[in-house]
Homo-oligomer: 354 residues x 2
DNA sequence: ATCCAGCGCTAAATCGTGTTAGCATCCACA
DNA sequence: TGTGGATGCTAACACGATTTAGCGCTGGAT
């Protein structure tokens, strides 16, 4: 009926040794310090007998390291994305014996500052500074003395911290190539464009996807057949943009939607106009929301690798936390992760002679 | 160029007092123990001068309490729901000076056990045992000695822990009443029914929504016009079920969809059959996914109050953690939170004489 | 003169672990 | 016989806070 946790002292007593010895044995430094095999066995036996687990709080006090990381996010509640990115981070951390504090700031700098304080009060070993939408931002000075990795975030001025972001430029290129390879020459954009700056403010994804698309079209000697910037990427705006597309071109060959919610609206507009996908219009999109697989036909969409982003960021952070200062990563490296295509039925080749 | 955090000893030294005195003053017990105002002022001045913040790890070691809670979930990555529930929990915790560890088990009991160990190693003050889908489960014995609240989870055998769940029975009643009040008498169910046990296994939401619906229909002297159980509540099953509905009744008056994804499929099937919502068919649904607002017309849907569930659970847990054992809550209370209706355009009244 | 109470503060122990410095023993060797 | 080194372990302190017990002083009552 013991309600206390068993401590190192309990183990030592049970094994008939000092707690120093028990500590050395259990931390694997027994051989190094020439503790006899007999004693080591006694200690280990006592430890597992009593179900001993080291008190990490105590270790934290003594060593200053808690095997704990803090994930600071602007919002956790933004659709699927949040979940998957955090899931990847949590899993990668658990695999390495770390736990994660999760906090959100709602974009409020004061809240962010308070959160960072609260985490440092708890002696976190490192911080993951995270956005749910890829964006550039200043890195608070509070992070000067603590290992940090930027997740889905770019520093607005150069920092020494590594960043992990999706490779949106390459995804834009891939989307354009996909349509070109299917033989399309008349390609409309819904969400951004035509100029490189015709993008809703602060959307890194918009800027970069557009850049990739324009680059590939340009190399093929093309311009977008039309382009429709939307300041919020939601279905009603996709619906309206698709109607504009139909106004300039009653039978548009292909449409690049800047995300799946826009694509949803585009589907609705095309459906109401009596056009069929993919026979009349081919669609390609980004994000791969769950919705993309449930539209009829499913939308071919480039998926943001949220879970991998989370994992990768944690791996970098833990390397930085546990590694020697010597082999620290080069300053300010930006890791860009590819967006895999989830091909569905929304793209058809252009028939020869069409 | 001091890189160390300032400690209580630093403050005491700067104020010219012992660290005992500094501790008493800063913890507010100064007056009680008759520390002179002059000294109290010196201590507080030194504290804010040096930017002192107590090291919670140290307090944790001494007092055994860390102002930290653990949220153990089966999955964090399930749609919007996860995010909002966790968001509510995080916010409520922060407001009270607590931080949250978040962990997920993927339903694996071994992983869950390891996670609970890891959290207890870090001296969490309490545990929130969470499911992303409401379900009943056994509560692990590991939790015997630590304050616990069940979130979106019911105990499969009685426990002393409080639980917080959405009030699905009442939502079912409300959905049925909504259609009855609009004059509908021919009401089809898509997702579960007609019998009370015709429900996909382990879905508390299905059982309870169905119970509420049946109760109200029964009181009105009605049976469901038809019912179609689906073992997975996704659009293709909704699509198929709607086709079955149309097979038995080419002009169904109203359909209750057991969630919005099913409703999406129902919309697709009705659209392809040339029926209009709400003129030809009225639809009511549950969950209020983002999708519900983007369908045309929007779906009237009962929203699971995820954020409130998270908040409420944290409030109960913190009360349990900080409260005196005397005023502990009664054992095993189940708190049921109402699902508010988000009314949109999917319901029309039956025309008189129709 | 002695004792006690009240005042205002502090020394020291404590929480559970890691780490540094060092102790006792034994053996080999000059 | 004494020296030096290897061997195998432990005492004691440190981490940063809280808490218990108590110290020295003063003034008034006995």
């Amino acid at each position: 009926m013991n309600r206390r946790r068993t401590t190192l002292a309990d183990v030592a007593r049970a094994a008939g040794v000092s707690s120093t010895t028990a500590s050395l044995v259990l931390s694997g430094r027994g051989a190094e310090l020439r503790i006899s095999e007999a004693v080591q066995d006694r200690v280990r036996a006592a430890s597992s007998e009593l179900g001993y687990r080291p008190n990490i709080v105590s270790i934290g006090l003594r060593k200053g390291t808690t095997r704990t990381l803090g994930l600071v996010s602007d919002t956790v509640a933004t659709g699927q994305m949040a979940g998957d990115m955090i899931k990847g981070a949590i899993e990668a951390a658990r695999e390495r014996g770390f736990m994660l504090f999760i906090g959100e700031t709602e974009g409020d700098p004061a809240a962010e500052s308070a959160l960072l304080e609260a985490m440092q009060d708890r002696q976190v070993d490192g911080i993951l500074l995270t956005s749910m939408f890829t964006r550039a931002r200043a890195v608070p000075k509070q992070l000067d003395r603590i290992p940090t990795v930027l997740l889905n975030t770019l520093p607005s001025s150069p920092t020494r911290y590594p960043a992990v972001v999706p490779d949106e430029v390459e995804a834009g290129r891939a989307a354009a190539r996909l349509l070109l390879e299917a033989g399309h020459r008349s390609i409309h954009l819904v969400g951004a464009g035509p100029g490189p700056d015709d993008v809703a403010p602060d959307t890194v994804a918009g800027v970069e996807r557009l850049a990739g698309i324009r680059e590939v079209l340009h190399e093929a000697g093309l311009q977008p057949a039309s382009a429709h910037m939307c300041d919020d990427w939601v279905p009603p705006q996709g619906f309206a943009a698709a109607q504009e597309v139909l106004a300039v071109d009653p039978s548009p060959g292909a449409i690049v939607c800047f995300n799946d919610r826009l694509a949803f609206g585009v589907y609705q507009a095309l459906g109401e106009a009596g056009l069929r996908i993919p026979d009349d219009v081919s669609i390609v999109s980004f994000d791969d929301y769950p919705m993309a697989q449930w539209l009829r036909p499913g939308v071919s969409s480039f998926a943001i690798p949220h879970e991998q982003l989370g994992r990768r960021a944690i791996e970098l952070l833990i390397a930085q936390v546990t590694g020697k200062p010597a082999d620290a990563p080069e300053d300010g490296v930006v890791h860009r992760l590819a967006l895999p295509l989830h091909a569905r039925g929304s793209i058809a080749p252009v028939l020869a002679g069409a």
